[in-house]
């Protein structure tokens, strides 16, 4: 558990430092993360550990994801989808299957991706084990400044000083 916490912390710290960087990334920073030990809703009994390199625009980021499952029989199906603005160089099969048994716990997947623009991208993974449910994961890939592209969100302050995230309602007025 303690390592899980420290990894999560390192991800946060790396993420923070990534945000503060200018566009140029001299050496790839390795972002690590795991779902081990985190609270989770019901679903497939699968955890991931991952590393992804924070790279400069146009450079290749090595993304390594390791799937582990407590299930000891059956098949784990893994569907991988990279963000549309990520270029995927590995050419791996995006629909993978892993036979589960008691001997082998780790099921690694390696991808190489790059992006033409600064940003925070994701490699999304959907895992399913028949009879045990499904589970979704997202592995971050920081490129350049690594900043999230802001969505169209309006943030205002109320008279009382409270921050509000404002959406437009569909309104019907009558007398």
């Amino acid at each position: 558990m303690k390592i899980a916490y420290s990894i999560v912390l390192s991800v946060v710290l790396l993420g923070t430092s990534a945000m503060a960087l200018s566009v140029k990334v001299k050496d790839p920073l390795v972002v690590k993360g795991t779902t081990v030990g985190k609270y989770a809703k019901p679903g497939a009994p699968v955890d991931i550990r991952y590393t992804s390199e924070h790279v400069d625009v146009g450079d290749v980021s090595n993304v390594d994801i390791v799937f582990t499952s407590s299930a000891t029989q059956g098949t784990m199906k893994v569907n991988i989808k990279v963000d549309k603005n990520l270029n995927e160089h590995t050419g791996i099969n995006k629909h993978l299957t892993f036979d589960l048994d008691t001997a082998r716990k780790d099921h690694p997947v390696h991808l190489e991706v790059s992006a033409d623009d600064d940003g925070l991208y994701y490699v999304r993974v959907m895992v399913s084990i028949k009879g045990k449910g499904m589970r979704a994961f997202a592995v971050p890939v920081y490129v350049g400044n690594g900043k999230v592209t802001k969505q169209n969100v309006t943030i205002e302050k109320t008279k009382r000083g409270e921050n509000i995230s404002v959406s437009k309602a569909k309104e019907t007025v009558s007398h």
Binding site: K2, K41, I155, K159
Partner: protein, 519 residues
């Protein structure tokens, strides 16, 4: 609601009258201020607040965008907001989504609906949905700034789903209100049992695109919002399940250690009970035993299970499915198989909010059924029958003695005495982390308050271990979580009382055993 009267003092004009010329008379310039006082009256501004509910397909797999319907936004805060951002009137919607208040006429204002349910009287609650991507700002939706007339007016506000038939092409305004609706429903079953309850504050963290996962921790629900991967705002059972964890945490007690889990897993008893309760509660609150979770491209995929009809894989005291089937059968009014009980929620709530909070053992199916049978002695035989239908022998104490299946894996709560040694051996037959056998339990009593040393040392020849432990007195109080190999020591001050000790090996070394001492 709020009667507002405005007195406006309007300076209409200043007249400067000059007379000149002609004869050079003696007239002088005169300044004449003219003041007019106008009273502005009020009108009743009312309306209905609704949101797009995207239902789950009847088979429990995927969202059904062809049957989106409007649902009332209940019990949320509605404000009339003036041009200068001032609040002119406030109220809350009723159970049909209706609101009404008095506002000044001939005034420009807009209606703001906050994703917040707050009632400061008894019963009371305080739930809000926050935008974690923007500094935890409160989600709100607003109408337009419009001039009120001189007669009563209606402004209906609707939160659209953002679905255009193929994708979410505009903001998912309905999301926060959909989640609040499920939380409102979840609160009702508790309110029906305890009408004067004061729910502790709850924050829900959600935004379109959230990839952080869906889980409860420390007073907050964190909800997925990742389109084409996993969105949970319309997965009512998922939201109610997570709300049940809030209920456990704030109104009852959970000793769950978290982690991934599936319905057929053989789990640590604390995880099995907490997750099984979450599932069962979602069925109870929503009056629907079909749990469903939608995922995937266009939210068209997913999985479901039926807490009433499905056959449990690997049934037993360590299985969350067994727990949810037992709890749901105890609650529901449908008799089926071994289930001839219809207790409703009240007896369960009594156990959760009283004996479960102080039970000397870890919270599990054993502590729950022991207390339920004690408090409902007349139904003990029928309770045993339901429990037995999940391959669980009659439960007679909070520690689970008398198991007949996987009895060797029973956490037997080894007794640890001051100056003595107990030996424990975690096992990994059913996986790691939070599975059955990974954590070994001990209990000890302190008769004299003072400083004590707890040591866990590897006791046999095995690989390099990393023992850890947690000490509990009702709830976790101290951890021993260093990275030292093969041993762990903690010196601490303990008061008089009964304690539990949870010992595990972070490295999951198969075959490793540990001597535990208390001095």
């Amino acid at each position: 609601m709020m009667q507002v009267k405005f007195m406006m003092i309007i300076l209409l004009s200043f007249f400067f009258t000059g007379c000149g010329g002609g004869g050079g008379d003696s007239s002088v310039p005169v300044t004449t201020p003219t003041t007019t006082t106008t009273t502005i009256g009020t009108i009743t501004l009312s309306g209905k607040v609704t949101y797009d509910l995207v239902p789950v397909n009847s088979n429990g797999i995927g969202l059904d965008y062809t049957n989106i319907r409007s649902e009332a936004v209940k019990a949320v805060q509605v404000d009339a907001v003036g041009e200068s951002n001032q609040i002119l009137a406030s109220t809350v919607t009723d159970n049909s989504g209706n609101y009404a208040f008095s506002v000044p006429n001939n005034t420009i204002l807009k209606i703001r609906v906050s994703a917040r349910m707050r009632q400061t009287t008894t019963p009371g609650w305080d739930v809000e949905v926050l935008d974690a991507s923007n500094g935890n700002a409160l989600h709100v939706m607003e109408g337009s700034l419009l001039l009120t007339g001189t007669s009563n007016e209606t402004r209906d506000l609707h939160a659209p789903s953002g679905w255009d038939g193929n994708a979410y092409s505009s903001k998912r305004v309905a999301g926060p209100f959909a989640m609040l609706d499920t939380i409102y429903t979840s609160m009702q079953i508790v309110l029906a049992t305890e009408p004067n309850i004061l729910f502790p504050a709850l924050d829900v963290f959600w935004y379109a695109g959230n990839i952080d996962g869906t889980y409860y921790t420390n007073g907050g629900l964190y909800i997925y919002g990742d389109e084409n991967s996993d969105t949970d705002e319309y997965d009512k059972h998922v939201i109610a399940h997570e709300w049940a964890h809030y209920y456990e945490d704030k109104l009852s007690r959970s000793d769950s250690i978290g982690g991934q889990h599936a319905i057929s897993d053989r789990l640590d008893i604390r995880v099995a009970f907490s997750e099984g309760f979450g599932n069962a509660f979602s069925g109870m609150a929503l009056n629907n035993p079909l749990y469903s979770d939608t995922l995937g491209v266009n939210q068209a995929n997913g999985f479901s299970f039926n807490m009433e009809n499905d056959t449990t894989t690997n049934p037993g005291w360590y299985n969350e499915s067994s727990v949810h089937k037992i709890l749901y059968d105890l609650f529901d009014s449908t008799n089926d198989g071994a289930d001839i009980l219809s207790l409703g929620f009240a007896p369960l709530h009594n156990v959760f909010t009283k004996s479960q909070k102080t039970t000397p053992a870890f919270v599990s199916i054993f502590t729950f059924i022991t207390a339920l049978k004690s408090e409902n002695a007349g139904g003990a035989v029928d309770i045993d029958a339901i429990v037995s239908s999940e391959s669980i022998a009659s439960i007679t104490d909070i520690y689970g003695t008398g198991r007949t299946n996987l009895a060797s894996e029973l956490p037997n709560y080894s007794n640890l005495t001051i100056g003595g040694t107990a030996n424990v051996c975690p096992s990994y037959t059913y996986g790691t982390g939070n599975k059955l056998g990974n954590h070994q339990f001990l209990k000890f009593s302190i008769g004299t308050a003072g400083t004590y040393t707890i040591t866990v040392v590897k006791s046999n020849l095995s690989g390099t271990t990393d023992p850890d432990f947690l000490i509990y007195k009702d709830t976790s109080i101290v951890s021993g979580f260093s990275t030292l190999s093969d041993s762990e020591t903690k010196i601490l001050t303990l008061s008089i009382g009964d304690y539990l000790l949870d010992v595990s090996d972070y490295n999951n070394v198969v075959g490793a055993c540990f001597d535990v001492t208390l001095n």
